[in-house]
Structure formats: structure tokens, C-alpha cells
Assembly symmetry: C2
Homo-oligomer: 335 residues x 2
Amino acid sequence: MGVTINDVAKAAGVSASTVSRVLSDSPRISKKTKMKVRKVIEELEYYPNFIARSLASNSTNTIGLVLCTEAHYLIHNSFFIQAMTGISTYAQENGYNVMYAFNKNEEEDLNIAIKYVSSKSVDGIILFASRVNDKCISYLKKEGFPFSVIGRPDETDGVLWVDNDNFQATYQVTDYLIRDGHTNIAFIGGPAGFNVSKDRFEGFKRSMYVHGLDINESFIFLDGDFSSEFGYECMKKLLENESQSLPTAVVTCDDMQALGVLNALSEKGIDNIAVTGFNNNLLPGINRGAKFTSVDVNAYKLGYYAAKVLIDNILGKEGTPTHYIVPTSLAENKL
Amino acid sequence: MGVTINDVAKAAGVSASTVSRVLSDSPRISKKTKMKVRKVIEELEYYPNFIARSLASNSTNTIGLVLCTEAHYLIHNSFFIQAMTGISTYAQENGYNVMYAFNKNEEEDLNIAIKYVSSKSVDGIILFASRVNDKCISYLKKEGFPFSVIGRPDETDGVLWVDNDNFQATYQVTDYLIRDGHTNIAFIGGPAGFNVSKDRFEGFKRSMYVHGLDINESFIFLDGDFSSEFGYECMKKLLENESQSLPTAVVTCDDMQALGVLNALSEKGIDNIAVTGFNNNLLPGINRGAKFTSVDVNAYKLGYYAAKVLIDNILGKEGTPTHYIVPTSLAENKL
DNA sequence: ATGAAAGCGCTAACAG
DNA sequence: CTGTTAGCGCTTTCAT
């Protein structure tokens, strides 16, 4: 069982190293020999042993994914699977395998990273989402191990990363609302201490500013989380504040938040307030007619480029950028 | 860079083979030596090289996932990611890595399987969903390569698999509706040629039969697909058929089908027909008040047990079953 | 209970 | 352009 490089060499009347060179298409082998060897490879249905190859060449042609997330979060968020598909695509295009491991917290994440690095099972690592003071990032930097990050890290110096332009994203969606005639716009932001939260808020403010619109402080909700509960609460507060009129539009930073807002509105029978979300995850069709705009972060591409920036770097390709900005787009849905 | 087994051996004053035996906790090594070696391992922060280990032991401790799906399908279906999480969990518990590759069709699936097997990159394979006359299954059987399948295959002989009891699932949900007072129930089935479609229909029929209810032939829609479009069309037909009254409940085989049905109903302003789905994927909350029942297939557990049945088998554990039936449950949601 | 030695299947200097 | 010779880091008989 299992035909080896030696079997091929013997059958083709050459040495094993010649076969090895044919496999890597070395320019120092004559066309004739290549043809001959390739024919034998076909006939014998020879496949190089992946493991032996890795050991000898000191590279695994595999990248590892460190995914930190609560299981329940996955159910209604296609971000991960889409990004994983993008990663798989670029990896396959370049002959790389992809390993993954789901973890529950930062410590487990770090342990997996350490395991990947120390046992030399992968050539590079992709981190999903960067924390403030991310331990995995510090570790990998210290080790000098190749890795890329989805989501711009605190300190971009010497790290490979991909991200959306979050500033641009909320700028765009706010601009869209304003052009649609809205002037009283509320904003519901993401959790404290994340760059993504900060950037999205800045984009919102900028767009308001550029259009010469005032920001009503009581329309701004920061430092919450991405849950529908938070969205619901914020909208409740807006509805209960009788000292002033309601906004005509609400910019949120996540579809779940938007869902909470929509719920709060639907309880009051209000359907003339525009709501926007992030991630383009909501199912179309449940409530025909309700228009809903979401910022599509293009998770597939984020994954694809996270793999690209990492693999290109590992392969030492010339002139590879250290990061990619994946554009967002506005998605119109009917809910 | 990289401390090897020899460094440990030297530092501990033993041979490399002794260190190797300590690593695998061989009973033939004295407690004393074990302690001594382990201490050195700690001090030197030695991690066995995964690749070298694989080559020498002729096993990779890695399993490969063959995932066939259209990208767009992933966006609103958390089945894959949940199953992958379950797989990752059992794999990690047993020291296995997991590789995955997304493919677009059966041919690509087969190619990946062949690559995994021939290049010896994995010890076993998990197939997502079995086709009629599945080429991957035939291939893996022919090769005698360990694999497990999520979804009962045509021919279960000598294959490891996990699945829900699909018969039981529709039996249960139909029973639930009948106990709720429904007697005129429509059924929208899955694609032709899949066991899952057949079983689900049988479960529905059985429940109706047990309760002494007649099945109205014009209420039955088979051999469609799992899309919302199909659900929409079927409901349309029911609504347009003026020669008879409407059902009071509709059992569908997928949440997307259910969504299509709900859309068709909402267009007519009908909200008193119960609709049930499968997979428990729909977002709660959009339309407060609309009750929606879905069969939760427990994708996490399907993945977990697919990994278990495979890994236990590879490890040659005694008395491992050849398959697992993962129970479904009814999930009540508000849409 | 431990060590010596062979070898897993391949790559990569080094020769020629 | 091709062959020879060493390993890569570990496991595993076979001795002792």
C-alpha cells in the first residue's frame, strides 16, 4: 500500500531527487525527463506524502484559524462561516490546507495558538477579531510567527491585517439617510474599547458634520453591546423621552441591535422610522414591505484577503501589502 | 530554534527513545525517570514536533471535513457552522486537529477526498450530507479509508454515520399540531431522492394515521427543494385552489420553505394558519407575536457525534457504535 | 527498564 | 542536468 517516491524513481529509471525536482517543477530538469517521470507518476497513481514533505521541507502548507466565539453567537451570525469560506478559497488556490479550532475565551485562544506554533503544525495563523491588548497578538509577535488578523489591531506595526473601513461604512450609511431627507438621526454604537466602535461613531459624526447637521446628544448611545437587547433598550429610551421629538432614522452597528430597535418600534406600531444595521444577516421576507438597510461587511472577502496577506507573506511574494481594506456596501432588504 | 527530543534526552541524561516513551506515558518507564524527564520537558519548554510524530507513527491525528455547499446557502443556514463547532469540540477533547475545505460540487468534493487520502494528510474524513449514489462514499469505501457521514447514507453497511430521526421529527411536530386541535394539515416536503425527504414524509403520514386523520392529497407537496421560493409557490397553490378550504396548519421541511409560506400568507393578510419549519434558523423578534415552531436538528450534536463515531473508530475503541441518532426537539419562536 | 539503530518519505546541499 | 548522501524529528523493533 502506498507508492512512494522511490517506487516512482525506480520505475522511471531515475533517482528520487530527480522525481522530487520534477514534482516541484525545477527548471534544472530536462523536458524529456520530466515527461518520462510524470508518465510514471500517472501510471503508478503516485501522490507525494504530505507529512514527509512537510518534515523534510520544514513547512506544513497549512494555516491555522483561531476562532473565539460563544456558540450561541454563531447561530445568527454568518460572519464566521463566510470568512472561513473565503479563507478556504484562497488557501486552496495556493495549495494550503486550513485547520480551525473554536475556543471559548482568550485563554483558550492563546493555548491553541501556542499549540499550533510550538508543535509546528501550521505555517501561519489567522486571528478572528483583535482584542484590546490581545494576548495572541503579543505572543505571536514575540515568537515572530507569521499571522494575520481580521480586524485592525491596536498596534498595526509589523502585523498583517484586514478590515473594513468602518469609518467609511457609517459615513456612507449616514450620508445615505441624509440624502433621503433625514436630519434627526440617532446612533447606537458598539462596545467600549474596540477600534471598530470608535471608527463607526466617528464616521457617523463626520457625515453629520459634513452635511451641517447637529447631533442631538440624547440620540447617541455608546458603549453598549451588539445585542438586540441593547438596541431594544436604546429605542425604548428614545420612545419614553417625552421632552423631545423622535429621530426619523436610527443608525445601528449591528443587525441584532437593529432587530431590537425594530421590535421596540413595532410594539408601538411605529413603522415610519428608518433603521440601518450591520452585517447583512437578517432574513429577508418575514415581514414583506419593511425596508431595511444593512452595511454588508463582505465577510467572504475579509477572509479571502486575510488568507492572502498571510500566505503571500509566508511565500515571500514581492511587494505584498501588509493589510487590505475591504470595502463595505449597502444592502437593501425587505424584512 | 526549536528544542528537539534529543535536547531533552541529553539534558535528562537518557536516550531519545526514553523521552519518546515518557511522552506516550509508556508503562515500561520507571516513575522516577518519568518525573525526571517531565521536569526537563517543562524547563526546556519542549513541544513534540507534530509533523515528525505523524511521519514516524504513520498517523496525522487530523480529520478532514468535506463540505459541499453553495456560498449563498451558508448565509442563512447555521447548520454548517454549528456542526463544525461540534466536530471541533470532540476533536480537541481527543487531541485531534480538524481541516476543512469548502467545495462547490460533487466532483470537487471527490477531489478533496482523494487528495486527503492519497497525500495521507488526514486519518479520517467527515462527509457533510450524503448524496444518492454518493461518489465520495463509494471512493472511501473502496479505499477502506475511515470516514463518517452526517446524514444517513443509502447503504449503511460498513459505514459510520449520524443523523436525526427524521421520521420521528415530523411525527412529533405533526402530533404537536394535532394535539393543538388541527386536523387539516398540509405538508411540504424536501427534494426527491433523499432519504431525509422520504423519512420526513413518512413521519407526517404516520402521525396523521395514528390520530385517524385523512390526508388530503391536494395538501401534499413533494419533490421540491428547501427554498423559500418553493414554500411560497406551494402556499400560493393552496390559496388559489378555490374548490376547497384551506388547511389550518402547514408542516414544512425547512425554515426557508416556512418563510416562503409565511410570505404568501402575509400577502393575503392571513395570520391564523400555523406553520412549522426545520433547523430553527429564523431570527426571533422581527414580528413580535407571530408564533413559529421549528424542529431543531441539533447540528452541534450531529457534528459532535460525527467526530466521535469516527475518532473512536480510528482509535479502535471497544464497543463503539457505528452510528448515532441525535434527537430533534421542538423550538418555539416568536418571529 | 532503558538504549541503539533503523527508518517513516521526502527535500536539499553537494558533487559531478 | 542528474545522482549521492544526509538529514528533518520522531517512533519502534530489537537488544540488553
